[in-house]
Point group: C2
Chain length 425, copies 2
């Protein structure tokens, strides 16, 4: 529009110069002043805030970060401005992912990587974030449009691709590995991956990428009847991966036979998705900024306002090879981890009712080697009230004895597998 | 802008007619076509969706209600389209109220009444909803701008006023009493009031109005350290009103001495406010559409992902006169209520594990008359883990014996007060 207005003004100028009759100049001048007014109107419409170099804690109405920096004065966060150093990847910019992206943008996250291949439709308008005027745009483009207006300080990278295709997965992997944003970082180039996809295949693709990159991620989901959801923390090798156990869902108590009929469109609510996005990003902030406890699994049953929690250990018979590799590394690193924890405990004076492990930022208890087969127990025996498996438990996992003798440091997954084969033969 | 463009086109037309030289017509024609292009650009920018007469369940991308109407097929809601008959008042269009308004707008609520006197500032940008280009607008104007673009089917009424002033309170009361939207409704003209204010005085004003109008409301709040919040259902006469007991807050575990220092700006997070808004509107939907259980009180401690619940009975020594009137009515209506419940129970066949009271849509147990003094018990004795009173318990309430003998139908609050005076004299 700005370009159009410039051309218009140039045309009027040249017409003015070629006008023979001085009496016509007055009416042309009026036209020119109208166009100038229009140009001003057009300019003032997309009023954007300018970038902010440093986060200030100054309590003035014009400071977009004053209420966030106040978290330091309130004793919640030690150094809020560190948020600018972090990169978060959000896979799926739908009802949960788009709201999560907006929350992180408003919190002033350093860099956001957004992945989706879908377009905005009017049928999405029952969830937060997208606007009717964005219908037809790709979700990534629409998200970048909205988020860059809200906070120009956030570095946005968008990828319009399907991570379940070969090409899409390769681009996904290489974008996660890109370390140009903060060179000091170890492992992958992002601090956390948030999975906000709505199907099993896409979750398996995120799981594969994160297992290969040893990348911690948070998975989220909302049920097809729109009234329950969950978030889950996955640390490759340390917690169950998405292939270790059938995914869990929060039971809504609604007859399952009415769900998942072929061709039936799933229900969704802005409330359930907003709550799940809020819990997801709150746990992301706790993870990044080191306050509170990150939940290993948190369900939300909205019919009863019930929030089940649980922890899941990795499955030594997991079908995912990269997961087995990470499990092996985790077991092999146990002596070093124990020594580091012991040193930390000795260095710090004992606190009243202190945490079991000082550095246990995810509130996860250490998995004893002999308990590694826990995830093979019958699902109904180990799941807390209100949780059910989304898929039936696979019957082809061989059962192993309740508890092996404590394994030595030399034991690894190959050894476990050999023992297992001997038992089954 | 549209008006300006029309004037411009008229001016060009008259200039065209007065041009003597035919060679100038060509350049003027080019100018006119440029202006027409600009007019088209200006028209296409605020692309709004048209109003929808009936909510359709048709599964097409262009249907903004398909995912909501699917709640019926999923067996969650019996008649979703009823949502168009309801009016909701939201007091306080800040971090919680604005998101609640957006959720209800996207759900297709019939009518929204919005109350706030504040202006949008850059310091609000760390919470969802308002955009930097709205800085300087009143929150009510900015909300109407955004919400009417999102869903033109919702009837929006905005009131830029402070309900704690005499004049503001009067307008607030008369707006709640206006029954023109749906004439069949009994009592006030709204179905539910959502309190999303950030201070004690405003909550007391909402409490006063709702007690006077016998209007059920949902209160919400977020702590000054930004990491906890709550929602609470208040039914005048049936549950504790806001004056019955010191307000409850969810303890964050952070040293209270660091909080509430004079002149310190409160912290806030889009996550906590998004979760509280989501829980608030989810319970609003359950209340309106009759599914699931409405929580009488639900807390959110984000540091531990802990969600305490509780119920609060009215205080027969409440300082609010209108509350005492409602309590009296509630007690007097007990025989009629019991008879109606009995009739309903007899009319319907007994269901397996059915609810205690068929019509108990708020999941609140009937308060036995002799338990009416429960709220006078020492607060530390009755509060569930994780909840504390925001203010100290008032010491001037006279204590009464643990449990009176069951009162007869003739007993009312005057009688209770007489008994109390006799004990204390």
């Amino acid at each position: 529009m700005e370009v159009e207005l410039k051309h218009l003004m140039a045309d009027l100028q040249s017409l003015n110069q070629s006008l023979p009759d001085p009496s016509l100049h007055a009416s042309l001048l009026q036209i020119q002043s109208r166009v100038e007014h229009l140009a001003n109107l057009a300019k003032s419409e997309p009023l954007r805030r300018s970038k902010v170099k440093d986060m200030s804690a100054e309590v003035v109405d014009s400071n977009p970060y004053s209420r966030l920096m106040a978290l330091q004065r309130m004793g919640i966060v030690e150094n809020y401005e560190r948020i600018r150093e972090f990169s978060i990847a959000i896979v799926g910019i739908g009802g949960v992912g788009s709201v999560a992206a907006e929350m992180l943008t408003r919190c002033g996250i350093g860099r956001l990587l957004l992945y989706d291949y879908d377009k905005v439709e009017l049928a999405n308008m029952n969830r937060l974030f997208f606007r009717p005027d964005q219908v037809g745009m790709t979700k990534t483009d629409a998200a970048v449009q909205t988020l860059s207006d809200i906070n120009p300080d956030v570095l946005l990278e968008s990828y319009t691709l399907n991570i379940t295709t070969v090409e899409g997965f390769e681009t996904f992997m290489s974008s996660l590995k890109n370390k140009s944003f903060r060179t000091s970082k170890q492992g992958s180039g992002v601090d956390l991956v948030l999975s906000c996809v709505d199907n099993y295949e896409a979750r398996m693709a995120v799981n594969q990428a994160c297992n290969e990159l040893s990348q911690t991620w948070l998975e989220s989901g909302v049920s097809e009847d729109a009234v329950s959801g969950h978030i889950q923390l996955l640390i490759p090798g340390e917690t169950a991966c998405f292939a270790c156990a059938p995914p869990l869902v929060v039971a809504s108590g609604v007859d399952e036979r009415t769900l998942k009929r072929e061709g039936v469109c799933a229900a969704s609510l802005p409330t359930t998705m907003g709550v799940v996005a809020g819990l997801l990003v709150q746990n992301t902030l706790k993870f990044l900024l080191g306050f509170g406890q990150v939940s290993p699994y948190l369900g939300y049953n909205s019919l009863k306002d019930f929030f089940p929690t649980m922890q899941m250990k990795p499955n030594p018979q997991c079908s995912n090879f990269a997961c087995l590799e990470r499990q092996k590394e985790y077991i092999l690193a146990k002596p070093a981890r124990d020594a580091a924890e012991k040193a930390k405990l000795e260095a710090e004076p004992p606190t009243e009712e202190g945490p079991l492990h000082i550095d246990n930022e995810w509130n996860i208890s250490v998995v004893d080697d002999c308990e590694l087969d826990g995830s093979n127990a019958k699902s109904s025996d180990i799941l807390p009230e209100g949780l059910t498996h989304e898929l039936p438990v696979a019957d082809d996992f061989p059962s192993i004895p309740a508890c092996q003798a404590p394994t030595t440091d030399n034991d690894d997954l190959e050894e476990l597998r050999r023992q297992l084969e001997a038992i089954n033969s």
